[in-house]
């Protein structure tokens, strides 16, 4: 598994150990990209900061909370109405953004008074919201404002409110991953165990590392509820602040994104003895195995199997319709952290695409171990890539599509490679059985967009064909398919609704009475 030095990075030789090509017969013990290190000076990284990781990824999906940044207003860029972690309380956490608006004079004279004034103003402006998280930024960390003391003072003056302080300034780690770590540890130290929940089931879980992107968490909650499982808290998508204070009472931590939230599961295991079960919510087979494992743990495997059978029967013919049309298409799987391993094997197996490259912006070496293991031979794995390396990789690999964030995604478009937003999705949710079909549909729509076909022609030099007229996706995708597949009555395109989340919110679930206990005679 040779290390790979991009031509564009020859002037930054340290970059060589951040990329490998998975070779024939080679293993993880032969080569592994370095990871979670400070970005090398001179390489223009695509990473976020530790404040971003703490607030924008993990903190803010909590739905019933005022999320206050103690710093310049610019730190809240990329929050207001741009994130897609929705919630069932009218997206309160997305609709309003708060910052103390620190300026130069506060750097000189301190900003604790300003912070206190902002906290009180915000609680008064939203009298129904009694919970707040305050996020430290580089500016407030460097001047040494004691945010915890101010929060404590306000909690004493305003009975009924509760405040969580997250000290994760932007410089607090090599990437956003440093912020994930800090907020995990801060939450368990400050808040877990401070609320006693009402237990309503014999089967109680925390659903951890799930951020409800376009409704992912609500899809999974639906499965758990159909199994009669009480989801005590969701860390943190669509999660409630007080529910998350009660995490210590769950019987099992079901962990989705280990990159961002394994820390709290590990600490819950050490402190409360709650086991951690890592699952994959993406892909029919991985999801089925995941539901089955949760069912097995509680002795209710039959309930999981019933859901798996029903959902597979409903959605598999639609997944297979897309698989026939996506077979062999080359994908660069370039997400932030966990999706390279959640998706790498599942999209290859279940959608027929070839993953020619994986990268991670903020993953650790453990994520690369998982991602490389799940790729086929020949895949190029890159840690913390820069824009030029991304371009060089696309020129070398000639992918049909890339899955990445919106910034590198726009770069890909410029060289006429379609992209899907791996972080926030296009037409999600993508989790769950139906969600996986929606993902396949988005891939299909991107690859076979007639608009993209037109973009391959350069009107300044290419001959523009005049004998071809109107094109549709089907004309493009079905051109080389056999008649048997094209006219198959077993396969069909996606037939679900535009919005699949609203109905879940009003759904009622069966009662599963507890098994009768034999009384002692």
């Amino acid at each position: 598994m040779p290390y790979h030095l991009f031509k564009c990075s020859e002037c930054i030789p340290e970059r060589k150990k951040h990329a490998v090509i998975k070779g024939h017969g080679e293993t993880l013990a032969d080569a592994l990209p370095l990871g979670y290190l400070n970005t090398i000076p001179g390489t223009i990284s695509e990473r976020g900061c530790a404040y971003c990781g703490a607030k924008h990824v993990i903190g803010t999906p909590m739905k019933d909370v005022i999320h206050m940044s103690h710093g310049p207003v610019g730190c809240t860029y990329d929050t207001w109405q741009t994130k897609r972690y929705i919630s069932d309380n009218d997206n309160f956490q997305l609709k309003y953004t708060y910052a103390t608006d620190m300026k130069e004079k506060h750097i000189v004279f301190g900003a604790e008074k300003l912070l206190k004034q902002n906290i009180i103003e915000a609680f008064r402006a939203f009298p129904n919201i009694k919970r707040m998280t305050i996020y430290q930024t580089c500016a407030s960390a460097l001047i040494g404002d004691d945010i915890n003391a101010v929060a404590q003072e306000v909690m004493e003056e305003m009975p009924g409110v509760d405040i969580f302080v997250c000290n994760s300034p932007g410089f607090g780690g090599p990437s956003q991953s440093g912020g994930h770590h800090k907020i995990n540890i801060a939450w368990i130290k400050q808040k877990v165990g401070t609320v006693e929940p009402k237990i309503t089931s014999d089967y109680v879980i925390n659903y951890v590392g799930e951020y409800n992107i376009q409704g992912d968490q609500e899809v999974m909650l639906d499965y758990f509820k159909r199994m009669g499982i009480q989801v005590l808290s969701s860390f943190t998508g669509n999660g409630s602040y007080d529910d998350l204070r009660a995490m210590h009472r769950a019987h099992l931590n079901v962990l989705e994104c280990a990159r961002s939230a394994e820390y709290i599961c590990n600490e819950l295991r050490v402190k409360y003895g709650t086991p951690r079960l890592d699952i994959d919510g993406f892909g029919f087979e991985p999801l089925a195995a995941s539901l089955r494992k949760v069912g097995l743990f509680f002795g209710i495997e039959d309930r999981a199997q019933a859901i798996i059978a029903e959902e597979t029967a409903r959605w598999k013919p639609e997944l297979d319709w897309y698989k026939e049309r996506l077979k062999g298409k080359k994908v660069c799987l370039w997400p932030g952290g966990s999706k390279l391993w959640h998706w790498a094997h599942a999209i290859h197996e279940e959608m027929g695409v070839e993953v020619v490259s994986v990268y991670t912006k903020f993953g650790h070496q453990g994520d690369m171990e998982k991602g490389i293991s799940r790729c086929e031979e020949g895949a190029l794995a890159i840690d913390d890539p820069n824009e030029l390396e991304g371009l060089e990789a696309m020129e070398m690999l000639k992918p049909d599509i890339i899955f990445t964030g919106k910034r590198p995604g726009e770069v890909a478009k410029k060289i006429r490679v379609p992209y899907l937003n791996a972080h926030a999705y296009h037409n999600g949710p993508w989790k769950g059985f139906e969600g996986w079909v929606r993902f396949a549909r988005d891939i299909y729509n991107a690859i076979y967009s007639p608009l993209h076909q037109l973009s391959y022609l350069d009107i300044s030099k290419d001959e523009i064909p005049t004998d071809k007229g109107f094109l549709t996706q089907r004309m493009l995708s079905d051109a080389n398919l056999s008649e048997e597949i094209v006219s198959s009555s077993n396969l069909r395109e996606y037939t679900g609704k535009y919005d699949i989340i609203s109905d879940l919110r009003g759904k009622t679930y069966p009662d599963f009475p507890a098994p009768k206990q034999l009384s002692a005679v």
Binding site: Y36, E262, N266, G273, R276, L277, K293, H364, Q365
Partner: protein
């Protein structure tokens, strides 16, 4: 069974675990040792029809991964049915040694020895 055949079969099982499982990649060496031993021992016990401890929460968590792994192995590798229990034990010990090497002793992951989570 020849040594080469045993090696080939272990390689197939390793590939299955690497492609479909996550439990082998916990973040620290001591975690991985515990995970590999817990799950692969129980998988061996299931395949050899031996009793399996699954009463404590931790054991139960290993057990669910072991049940799914044993089912997956049986489904994908019909040659398992032709092996007797003594051979399965040798196979599973070889598998554990290989997984331990790839994820712990031979791993290039520099975070495995970090003292805290």
């Amino acid at each position: 069974m020849t040594e080469d055949l045993m090696k080939e079969r272990i390689a197939q099982l390793v590939d299955y675990i690497m492609k479909k499982c996550l439990w082998q990649f916990h973040s620290r060496a001591w975690d991985r040792e515990r995970q590999n031993a817990g799950i692969l021992t129980k998988t061996m016990q299931i395949l050899c029809e031996e009793p399996v401890e699954n009463q404590t929460p931790a054991d139960r968590c290993y057990w669910v991964d072991a049940v799914c792994l044993a089912d997956g192995f049986r489904q994908k590798y019909p040659w398992l049915d032709s092996m007797d229990k003594a051979e399965i034990k040798i196979l599973m010990q070889g598998l554990k040694d290989r997984i331990d090497f790839l994820t712990i002793t031979g791993s290039l992951n520099e975070e495995l020895t970090v003292p805290l989570y």
